[in-house]
């Protein structure tokens, strides 16, 4: 599903953000990417959702080397990836409902049925009363839930989340991680970047630990690290 081979990333002439990273996430797996701020988690995710090309090395998604993709192929591949951005990236002039429906509209699946799916999903994330609210009128946590709903509405094959629980209380954070588990059970590969170690310890999924742009603990099991 996701394969990095000796990947190096550097922005311009700056220092190496990622240093010879090699990893592999199999289809249907659920991974946590942990590490302190600046460890390179977001940069790693950016390459996974095709916003960034590696300076060196090879990145393959869904069995395809991303270096040779055309713009059209990149767009088609991105439709199979759901992303929860750290800064949410909601379109402020669109309502919560319209933001969530956007991936369906782009892939041409918008319609009465998808409207119902959007409403159900927003209700599930606790925003039934805010469907027609514009993002600037929502709290940080509410915006984050809209962003999460937008990432999962298209039932992606690969779900990438960058600090998806950063603005949520513990109860809602756990609830959303269980939503990701439900998606994982139906075949979605989930990769969650977070610095919330205590939250990660509640789940029995592999952890990839990043430190200073390098993989410190590749694919380690959370269960092995978690207290009994």
């Amino acid at each position: 599903m996701v394969r990095f081979e000796d990947v190096v990333l550097r922005y311009g002439q700056g220092p190496e953000i990622l240093k010879h990273v090699s990893l592999q996430f199999d289809p249907g797996s659920y991974h946590f990417l942990v590490g302190a701020s600046g460890a390179g988690k977001s940069s790693l995710l950016r390459m996974m959702y095709l916003a960034q090309h590696p300076t060196a090395g090879r990145v393959a998604l869904f069995g395809r080397n991303v270096a040779g993709l055309t713009r059209q192929e990149t767009a088609v591949l991105r439709r199979r990836i759901g992303v929860v951005f750290q800064d949410f990236r909601l379109l402020e002039h669109l309502t919560a409902r319209e933001n969530v429906a956007l991936p369906l509209q782009i892939s041409g699946e918008a319609g009465a049925r998808s409207d119902k799916d959007v409403e159900e999903l927003l209700t599930w994330v606790g925003l039934a009363d805010h469907m027609d609210a514009l993002p600037p009128t929502l709290s940080g946590g509410q915006q984050q839930r809209v962003a999460i709903a937008r990432a999962v509405i298209g039932r992606p094959s690969l779900l990438l989340a960058d600090e998806p629980t950063g603005n949520l209380d513990d109860r809602m954070a756990v609830r959303l991680l269980y939503l990701f588990e439900e998606l994982n059970k139906i075949g979605t590969t989930v990769v969650i970047a977070t610095h919330n170690e205590s939250l990660v310890q509640r789940f029995r999924h592999p952890i990839t630990r990043l430190s200073g742009g390098e993989i410190a603990a590749p694919g380690g099991s959370a269960a092995a690290e978690a207290p009994a």
């Binding site: 916003a51 713009r71 767009a75 439709r79 379109l91 002039h93 429906a101 956007l102 782009i106 409207d115």
Partner: protein, 301 residues
Amino acid sequence: MSRRRKRQAVPLDRDASGRYLPLLVAIMVYLAALALAGAMAANKLAARWDSGLAGSLTVQLPAAPPGAEAEGAAQQDPALQAVVDLLEQTPGVVTTEVLQSGEISALLEPWLGEALLIDDLPLPRLIAVTINPDQPPDLTVLRRAVLAAAPGSIVDDHQRWLAHLLDLAWAVEIMAIVVVAMVLSAAAIMVAFVTRMGLAAHDQAIELLHLIGAQDSYVAKQFQSHALSLGLRGGLIGLACALPTLYLGRSLLERIESGLLPELALRPHEWSLLILLPVASALVTMFTARVTVLRTLARMP
């Protein structure tokens, strides 16, 4: 949700640059409408001159000897009578009409005024001749025969000055078409500029759309529908302003009552051309916006 109007993912309707676009398109369409009407008027004028003078000749005899200019001149002027007889016998000549001194005075009146003293001026004698355009007489032979019958006569088929007038009308027509083309090009450049500004202003929204799987054509569609709407609105405003101007121009020309000036009464197909201008402006703006977006995005990594 489906009951409400769907908002575009890129909020172009909030852009200040887009707000002025209809106004600029309106000015362009206004100028294009006037230029197009000018081209059509020039075309009509050329056609009128061409058809009005084709199939006619004017024979001009030198001024009559004293005492022969009175009414019924042909009977009293042997040279005039000889030319009339010659013309009537010439194959290809349909009718001949000797212009009376009153008619000649009327022709000169716009230049010399009403105080023309016909007896004081040596006026040439004129014969208006209608010929069969399909089987016209041999002009060289006719000229020679007329000259023999009345020395100093001129047979004028109007071709020399008609050719100059037709050239002028043609030039006016071409210039008007060039003006329309330039106006449309200026509109396209302006739309490309506004579209680039829009792309820069909404780069984050566009990046997001790409990240969630939008093709370049999806983004282009947002811009082109917006441009189509603005172009059509501007085009209709421009046409609405041009129509009173054309009406005013027509009224002024009618007041002059000169056969030389063009007629501005438009025929149905000419109206269709003018009405198509807002549609053309809308299509130009839409097409330009689409091409600009696709080209700009294709250059992005």
